[in-house]
């Protein structure tokens, strides 16, 4: 420490390098010396570079003699860490746990899957899309529409017949098939069978006109609709639209105008034609029945 209280470290060098024949050393040279190999420095700095190189020299055996002690410490530390891990593992093993962590959610997943299957199955049952045995079971259990026997009574392909041709044998002339126009007209047929012909101003007049065309004539409508709906023909159908049959316009109740609407409640399905005509298969099978019974 100097008299002015300045540490010796911070005092200027007491001996000037120039005093010993050393040229002034720039900061850049010195900084490079700390990072470079001795070969890259200028001649005046080579002795210093040699010293620094000796400081970086490869270790001697004595500098590696303490390895065993360090490794013993390392083994102790890792052994303690291993014991901690084992204690933790045994603690976890003692706790009751499920076979798989994911199964914690299994009841919820199973319940959700069950509900989905139930919903899809219910919709399929009420729309009559299930296989015959299952549909029959659904019919008994939840009052779904009865199973049909499409495979045993496959209808012939729908034949398009010219509207101008009137055939004496109406079932042969017009028999609705699975994709026949009769399928589309089942609602109109129900309306016809329930209420007869509407008046001229009825919004359904065009639909009835179309029914007559499809059936091949007004005379064939009762038989055609019987085939479509599976019901007997209306006892007293009137000849056709344009003829007042005594039924007031708008007499057709909702649900009887051919709109199938949403799936009916279980208690209502099977009790009337609406549920049966709500899908194409049901009406097709009924159409086949009608054809067979007529033939």
């Amino acid at each position: 420490m100097t008299r002015r209280g300045v540490p010796d470290d911070d005092m200027p060098d007491s001996s000037s390098p120039a005093q010993w024949g050393i040229p002034p050393l720039g900061d850049g040279d010195l900084e490079a010396l700390l990072a470079r190999d001795p070969g890259d420095v200028t001649a005046p700095l080579r002795p210093v570079a040699e010293v620094l190189s000796a400081l970086r020299a490869a270790p001697g055996p004595a500098e590696l003699s303490g390895e065993e002690l360090a490794m013993a410490r390392f083994r102790e530390a890792t052994g303690r860490a291993g014991q901690r891990r084992r204690r933790l593992a045994s603690h976890r093993a003692r706790r009751p746990r499920r076979a798989l962590p994911g199964l914690a959610f299994a009841p919820w997943v199973a319940a959700a899957a069950f509900l989905i299957v139930l919903a899809v199955g219910g919709v399929a049952a009420y729309t009559g899309r299930l296989p015959t045995p299952i549909q029959s079971l659904a019919h008994v259990v939840i009052a779904a529409p009865p199973a049909h026997h499409e495979t045993r009574h496959r209808p012939p392909p729908h034949r398009t017949v010219s509207r101008t041709v009137h055939q004496a044998n109406y079932p042969a002339a017009r028999t609705p098939g699975p994709a026949a126009p009769g399928h589309e007209l089942s609602g109109v047929c129900h309306a016809y069978q329930d209420a007869g012909w509407p008046g001229h101003s009825s919004p359904d007049a065009n639909a009835f006109r179309h029914l007559i065309e499809v059936a091949g004539g007004a005379d064939h409508v009762p038989g055609y609709c019987s085939a479509v709906t599976g019901r007997d023909a209306w006892p007293g159908p009137q000849p056709g639209p344009g003829q007042d049959n005594g039924t007031a316009d708008g007499q057709l109740a909702p649900g009887q105008n051919g709109n199938p609407g949403p799936p009916a409640a279980p208690g209502a399905v099977g009790q009337g034609p609406n549920g049966q005509v709500a899908n194409g298969q049901g009406s097709a099978s009924q159409g086949v029945k009608g054809q067979n019974s007529a033939g």
Binding site: P17, L30, A54, R56, G60, A62, M71, A77
Partner: protein
């Protein structure tokens, strides 16, 4: 310096691999000893051993690259030296001349070291003649391989002060070598 292998070696050592820890130790211990022989010549071996004990304990928690690893290693060593110095001040050791001759610790390793690594020993002896701060900065830059900022963090000084100390130390080394008539 392990370079690209450092990360994998460290990860393996943290996982309990003795061979990986041996690689870390063999890479770090010689530099650590050279640094400690300058700043704590009387207790370099003990300080190095205690440093590794601390490192082993904190190995699982360490995160960083090789530069951070070396900074941590030398910071730990320096703290051990400061702790030992504080302990000695509180509990002064007996004067050496009161110890029986048979109790004087012999150090065969030191003898072998002097024979096998003479150039390094001479270099350490020469740097030890520098003021403590200059010698420490030079060793941390050259032996530990730390940059100026890392040394400044370790010593709690500004990078400028570290740079000045390093340059002054090198100039003084040049002077010492010139005084000794060493030319290359």
């Amino acid at each position: 310096v392990l370079g690209e292998d450092f990360a994998a070696t460290l990860a393996a050592a943290r996982g309990g691999s003795e061979s990986a820890f041996s690689v870390l130790w063999r890479d770090g211990n010689p530099a650590l000893l050279r640094y400690l022989r300058v700043i704590a010549p009387d207790a370099a071996e003990d300080a190095a051993a205690e440093t590794w004990v601390q490192v082993v304990r904190g190995l699982e928690r360490f995160r960083g690259d090789e530069a951070a690893w070396r900074a941590w290693l030398f910071t730990t060593a320096r703290r051990r030296v400061l702790d030992q110095a504080r302990l000695r001040r509180r509990h002064p050791a007996e004067p050496l001349d009161e110890i029986q001759a048979a109790e004087v610790p012999s150090s065969p390793d030191a003898e072998r070291l002097a024979m096998e690594n003479l150039a390094t020993e001479e270099a350490i002896a020469l740097v030890s003649r520098l003021p403590r701060q200059q010698a420490e900065v030079i060793l941390l830059r050259v032996v530990a391989g730390l940059d100026t900022e890392a040394v400044a963090d370790l010593l709690g000084r500004s990078p400028g002060a570290v740079r000045v100390a390093a340059h002054r130390g090198l100039r003084r080394l040049a002077t010492l070598l010139a005084e000794a008539g060493v030319t290359l």
